[in-house]
Symmetry: C2
Subunit: 392 residues, 2 copies
C-alpha cells in the first residue's frame, strides 16, 4: 500500500559512485531516471581512496578480476572527460604511478612472487633496489627492504567524482534524485516493475537497477555481504606526503598511502601546498558497523608510517569506516538479471571506483538492449542462482 | 577608542574550567561578573581527561606541586556538591583509584624510584605483583611488568563540569557571559580598570581576572607558554574499558587511560553500557596548533593498547589537541598581582581541572580582601617579575 506513485523509465537504487554513474549515463542516453538514496555518497564511496590499480591489486587466481580491472581503467579517461565537459569539475584522474613497497624479508619474498605473476601475465612492474626506490620516492622509510614500480596505475578522487556526477544529474531534466530509502521491489507477473520507498511512495519504472552496495542483498537475494574497510584522511604539509601512491606489505599486512595534488588539504591552517593523503584500508568481515575502531586506526597508522615515516607530521583529519559489497568470487554483479526489469550494479568489493565507468556503460547497454562490454561477461548477475529466491 | 562601555565588579577573561569556576564563585560571593570568551570551554578544558591525581603525578623536585595538588583535590568534593545543588548536574567526581603500570624492566625501575619517593613523602601507593595487578584490573596487558595501586586519586569530567559551571552562571542574575575576545587591558594611573574586547566594547571593572590559559601572556606579560597536549576519546563497549584509571610508562613514555562510568559513551550505536574512555596525553612544546598529528594519535594508541589491549575493540570517536598554560616552575599564577586591579588564574599546566575549585576560592578571597588559602602561597603571580613589563 503506497501513499503516492511516481514513474520513470528507470529507478536506480543507491547513490554511491556506481549508482550515480549509472543514473547519469542513463539520462545521457535519453532515459528518464529516478535515483533513490536517503544519503547519497555516504556508503563505501565515502571511505574509498580512489586507486585505479588493476595491476598492483591483481594476485594469483584473480586473472579474471585483473582483466576486468584493466578494462575498467580503460573506460576512465573518457568518463572523466565527459564529466568535466558536463560539469566543469576536475575529478582528479591522474597517472601517478605506484611504488609497491615490501617492509621485511617475508614481504620481499611476497613481492617477488607477485612480480613473477605479473611477468606471466605480460604486465609491466619492475623491481627496484632500495636505492632506486628512495631516489624515486625520497620519503620512503629506511627500513623498507624492497620495492617495485608500476607505471600504469592511476588514481581519482571518489568524493569529488560522485559530487560531479550528482551535479551533472541535478542539472539534467531527465533525472530526479529522491532522498528516501528503497524498502521493497514491486513485482507483477514475475517482472520487477518498481520500488517502494520508506516515505510511502511507489516508484514505478520499466527497469530497476540495484546499486545499493552491500544492502542490495536486502531487496533482492543478491549474494553480497558487507566487508568493512577503514581509511584515514590526513592533511599533509609540504615534505610529509609522498609524490606517488605508495602501497605495500608491512609484516604481511597490506596498506596504501594515496597522496592527492597540492591544494587538496582540509581543516584550519591548511594552505595551497597541503595535500590530502588517504591511508587504507582494513578489511573486516562482519556486521556493517560504521564506527572506526581504535585498533583499526592504530594498525593503519603503524603500517603507513613504516612505509612513509614523515606522515607522523601530517594532521589527523578523519577516520572513516564503510562496508564494501563483496561476492563469493570477488567479481561484481553487473547487467540485466534473469528476472525481467531487474538489473544489477553491485558486488564491486574493492573495485567500485575503478569499475564505476565501465559498469555504467554496461548497465545502460542492458537497459537499452545493446550488447554488454565483453569484459563484463564474468559479471553475470545470475551466475549464483537463484537470484531472487527469498526476495521480498 | 571603544564603541560602547559596560561595567561590573569583576571581568573574568577566559571561559575554561578555571575562569568559569572563578566567575561562579565570585557571583556566589555577591559580586557582579562579566565573563569574556569567544568560545567558552574550547581551550585546554576541551582536551583534558579530568584526572585529579596529585599523588600519581608527583615526582622528585615537585613536592610543592604535589602539596598544592593535594590541597586542590581536597577542595573538589564541596565544589562538586555545591555545583550539583545549584544545577542538578552530576559532574562525575569519582574515587576510582589508579593503577600505575610499568611496561618493561626500565619502566619498573622508574616505578620503584617513584614508590620510594612516595614513601618519603608519607604517601600511600603500594607495589603490586603482576598477578595482583591483573586481579584488580583483568584487562591489563600480559606484557605489563609491574604495577602499583594508588587508592586516593579521583577523576571528574571536565567538559561536564564546565558545562555545569556555565549553567550555574547563566542562571545567576549577577553574571553576564560575553562571547568576544579580550584584546587589551584598560589602565588608569597604574591600575587595571577594565578590558577592551574585539567587538569594540570596553568592559570596565574594579578588578580583572586573567584566566585565559596560555593566551594570558598576550594581555599581561604573564610568563605562560603553550604546551600542547593531545587526547583521544573512545566509545568502549562492555569488556573493552578498564574499571580503574590506568596510567603508567611504556618504554619510557607516559600514558593514561581514563574510563568514565557506563552510559557516558557517544556516537551511533552506543548503549547505556558503553563508557567514554579518554587516552592521553602528548606533551609538545611549540606553537599552539589545534590539529592533532597522525604521529600523536599513533603514539597514544600504541602505548594505551600496550597497557590495555582490549581498547583495540573500542570505537574511535575523537582526537583533540589543545595547549595548556605552562610556567617556568610548573606552578600556577593565582591571586592578586602587584598591579592594582589585576588578578591571575592561569599557568596551571597539567593541573587546571584539579586546581580549578581551589583557584576559584583563592581568587575570590583576593577579590574580597580575604586571606588566600596557604597552599597557594607558592602561586604568587609576581614571583617572576616584572609581570606587566611589555603588557599593552
Amino acid at each position: 500500500m503506497s501513499l503516492s506513485e511516481a514513474s520513470s523509465d528507470v529507478v536506480v537504487v543507491g547513490g554511491g559512485i556506481v549508482g550515480t554513474a549509472v543514473a547519469w549515463r542513463a539520462v545521457e542516453a535519453g532515459l528518464s531516471v529516478t535515483l533513490l538514496d536517503p544519503s547519497p555518497g555516504d556508503g563505501a564511496t565515502h571511505a574509498a581512496a580512489g586507486m585505479l590499480a588493476p595491476v598492483s591489486e591483481s594476485w594469483f587466481g584473480e586473472s579474471a578480476l585483473a582483466r576486468l580491472g584493466i578494462a575498467g581503467l580503460a573506460a576512465w579517461p573518457r568518463f572523466a572527460a565527459d564529466l568535466a565537459r558536463a560539469t566543469g569539475i576536475d575529478v582528479g584522474l591522474r597517472e601517478t604511478g605506484t611504488l609497491v613497497a615490501a617492509y621485511d624479508a617475508d614481504d620481499v619474498a611476497h613481492l617477488r612472487r607477485w612480480l613473477a605473476l605479473h611477468a606471466e601475465l605480460g604486465l609491466e612492474p619492475t623491481e627496484l633496489t632500495g636505492t632506486q626506490a628512495r631516489r624515486r620516492e625520497p620519503l620512503l622509510g629506511h627500513h623498507v627492504a624492497g620495492a617495485a614500480w608500476v607505471p600504469g596505475d592511476h588514481v581519482a578522487d571518489p568524493r569529488t567524482t560522485r559530487a560531479a556526477l550528482s551535479a551533472a544529474l541535478h542539472a539534467h531534466p531527465g533525472a530526479a534524485v529522491v532522498r528516501s530509502a528503497a524498502v521493497r521491489l514491486e513485482r507483477d507477473a514475475g517482472a520487477v516493475v518498481g520500488v517502494h520507498d520508506d516515505a510511502g511512495t511507489l516508484h514505478r519504472a520499466g527497469a530497476v537497477v540495484l546499486a545499493a552496495g552491500w544492502r542490495s542483498g536486502e531487496l533482492a537475494a543478491a549474494p553480497v555481504r558487507p566487508v568493512r574497510g577503514q581509511t584515514l584522511r590526513l592533511d599533509a604539509p609540504p615534505g610529509t606526503a609522498p609524490e606517488h601512491v605508495v602501497r605495500g606489505r608491512v609484516q604481511g599486512r597490506p596498506v596504501y598511502v594515496v597522496p592527492r595534488p597540492p591544494g587538496t588539504g582540509s581543516g584550519p591552517g591548511t594552505t595551497a601546498e597541503h595535500r590530502e593523503v588517504v591511508v587504507g584500508a582494513t578489511s573486516e568481515e562482519g556486521p556493517a558497523d560504521r564506527r572506526p575502531s581504535a585498533g583499526g586506526v592504530f594498525a593503519l597508522l603503524r603500517d603507513a608510517r613504516a612505509l612513509v615515516p614523515a606522515l607522523d607530521e601530517a594532521a589527523f583529519v578523519e577516520a572513516t569506516l564503510r562496508a564494501r559489497p563483496a561476492t563469493p568470487d570477488n567479481l561484481p554483479l553487473v547487467g540485466p538479471s534473469a528476472t525481467p526489469g531487474l538489473h544489477l550494479a553491485t558486488g564491486h568489493h574493492r573495485g567500485g571506483v575503478l569499475l564505476a565507468p565501465l559498469t555504467a556503460e554496461a548497465v545502460v547497454a542492458g537497459l537499452t538492449g545493446a550488447a554488454l562490454p565483453p569484459a563484463l561477461s564474468v559479471a553475470d548477475p545470475d551466475r549464483f542462482t537463484p537470484l531472487l529466491e527469498g526476495a521480498s
